[in-house]
């Protein structure tokens, strides 16, 4: 039993070091920080420009006013920005295709755990950037945005964490396709676009027809934008109440478990095809 705990502690320390290395790598490029902030703020501006024109002369659309939609996008865009696992797909796939994947096989590391730890380190850095950008945007738009529900912020953080884990697992499986295909760049772009639409990062899911909303509620994707925004808005402003939180968390946990098992199975099935450069 004690040995099992020792092993668990050793593995945790190992992957914490991987996450720290990824965080340090992200921190080393400071000019990226300023430009990253600009890109995040640009997405908010884009949503404001579009929806100001959509709302012209209208009070409410889909049960939301312009202030609620602006607040929705502030949350949705920044949660979507935190994810770094999508960009890791290209790195991982390139290593597979270039024969550099052997480094995971030669070391005592688990590729999936390494992938998740590295994503966590990079996403932690991105979360810090986006928190600053979100705070700056909130200050700039103070008086226009809907004030957030304090407890809703915690609920949103829990939901977004499970959603980001689900996305990282989907991205690991996308990267594993590189064992079978020459180029997974197109798959990654297509997956990103679909996830963006299904998560509600492109437009509030409240605007979709009822049947589409009910179908999407069964998937983990709304946890990447729509659900966190709804918890922060609160039920009084067209969002979600805390009463819905346990069911949402349970559903997401089940998805994470299912995707974890699927990722393990996908790696086991596809990694046999790996041939090192020169082998």
């Amino acid at each position: 039993m004690i040995r099992a705990f020792d092993r668990l502690g050793g593995a945790a320390a190992k992957y914490a070091a991987v996450a720290r290395a990824a965080l340090a790598d992200a921190l080393a490029w400071r000019s990226e920080l300023a430009l990253g902030l600009g890109a995040s703020a640009g997405r908010i501006l884009m949503a404001l420009v579009l929806w100001s024109a959509v709302f012209a002369g209208r009070g409410e659309i889909g049960g939301m006013g312009l202030a609620a939609v602006a607040s929705y996008y502030l949350v949705a865009v920044f949660v979507a920005q935190i994810d770094r696992s999508s960009s890791m797909v290209d790195t991982f796939a390139r290593e597979i295709r270039a024969g550099e994947f052997a480094k995971y096989l030669a070391r005592p590391v688990d590729p999936l755990a390494w992938f998740l730890a590295s994503c966590f380190g990079r996403s932690a850095f991105q979360a810090a950037i986006t928190a600053v950008a979100a705070a700056a945007c909130s200050c700039a738009l103070a008086g226009f945005l809907v004030p957030p529900e304090p407890v809703g912020i915690l609920a949103a953080a829990a939901v977004a964490s499970l959603g980001l884990l689900a996305l990282a697992l989907v991205n690991f499986m996308t990267a594993c396709l590189a064992f079978a295909f020459q180029d997974v760049f197109s798959f990654n772009i297509g997956k990103n676009c679909l996830v963006e639409f299904l998560s509600g990062a492109l437009l509030p899911l409240a605007l979709l027809p009822g049947w589409a909303r009910r179908a999407l509620e069964l998937t983990p994707f709304p946890a990447l934008a729509s659900l966190p925004a709804q918890f922060i808005l609160g039920p009084a402003r067209g969002g979600a109440g805390l009463g819905e939180l346990p069911a949402v968390l349970l559903r997401l946990a089940l998805w994470d478990l299912g995707l974890y098992l699927a990722a393990r199975r996908a790696f086991a099935a596809l990694s046999d095809r790996y041939e090192e450069a020169g082998s």
Binding site: W29, A39, L50, I61, L194, E196, L203, P209
Partner: protein, 276 residues
């Protein structure tokens, strides 16, 4: 002087044509990647059309544009995107890598403009197929509006598309010349992606006041799909091309062409090569 300029232009055009033929031969041997790229690109733009469709389930117009006008707008962006992806996108995105690895040295030694060589050497005919669904969106939306375009409108639309291809080329070059100075410019790419999204996701009718100045002059990504759409529909009621909008678009494109070329030349001046 004129003869020398003509020789240079002809030599550059011949070289671009030779690069295109070489790429066609290579692409023909990679059918999987070809079709995957086509299917994914098409899906991206149909998702954007779906976004507008959902918005129009809830409202009748966006800044005076009805749903078919927005579908036409998405079709136009898809059309321009298909053309720029096939012609120079993949070549220009390789510029930072060419600078950092010293690959640019090879281009400087050849009797062909290095920027054009880099831009067109990765000609990707697969992306041209994007023009087919784009054309469908354009034709279907025009038919749904019950509007019969004049020959002048069609010609003006084609000319506007060509002008926007030049503008996008300039904007892509400007987003990559920082690689002469900085080692990592991924965030510039992220910023560029955000701005390109403006071109696709925000209809031209949504820009008002200072936003119009910002996204149609200073960062003219807002022109890319909106300008050809406005040219095609003229005053919005099928009254022919809106000639007054040409002067600003031509002026902005000319200014950005000069700026991109100057930035490129300045970058080359400080480039020290692989061993520099």
């Amino acid at each position: 002087m004129i003869a020398a300029m003509r020789d240079t232009v002809l030599r550059n055009l011949r070289s671009v044509a030779a690069l295109a033929v070489a790429r066609l031969a290579r692409q023909a041997s990679e059918a999987g990647s070809f079709w995957a790229g086509f299917i994914i690109d098409t899906m991206v733009f149909f998702i954007q059309a779906a976004v507008f469709w959902v918005i129009y389930l809830n409202v009748d117009d966006i800044g005076g544009w009805d749903k078919w006008c927005c579908v036409f707008f998405v079709g136009t962006f898809t059309f321009v995107d298909g053309l720029w992806m096939s012609l120079y996108f993949f070549g220009l995105v390789g510029i930072p890598e060419a600078i950092q690895t010293g690959r640019l040295d090879l281009y400087l030694t050849k009797p062909f403009d290095p920027l054009l060589h880099l831009a067109f050497e990765r000609f990707n005919p697969g992306s041209l197929f994007l023009a087919l669904p784009a054309l469908c969106l354009v034709v279907v939306s025009t038919a749904a509006m019950g509007w019969r375009p004049s020959i002048a409108s069609i010609l003006a639309y084609a000319a506007a598309l060509l002008l926007m291809l030049v503008l996008v080329f300039d904007l892509m070059v400007l987003a990559r010349v920082p690689a002469f100075r900085f080692r990592r410019i991924e965030a510039v790419g992220a910023m560029e992606n955000t701005l390109v999204e403006f071109a696709m996701r925000v209809p031209g009718s949504a820009y008002r006041g200072w936003l119009k100045l910002l996204f149609r002059v200073i960062l003219p990504y807002g022109l890319i799909a909106a300008f050809p759409t406005e040219v095609f529909f003229g005053d919005g009621g099928g009254g022919g091309p809106l000639w007054a909008s040409w002067a600003p678009a031509l002026g902005v494109t000319a200014a950005f062409t000069a700026l991109a070329r100057a930035a490129w030349e300045r970058g080359l001046a400080r480039y020290e090569g692989a061993g520099g």
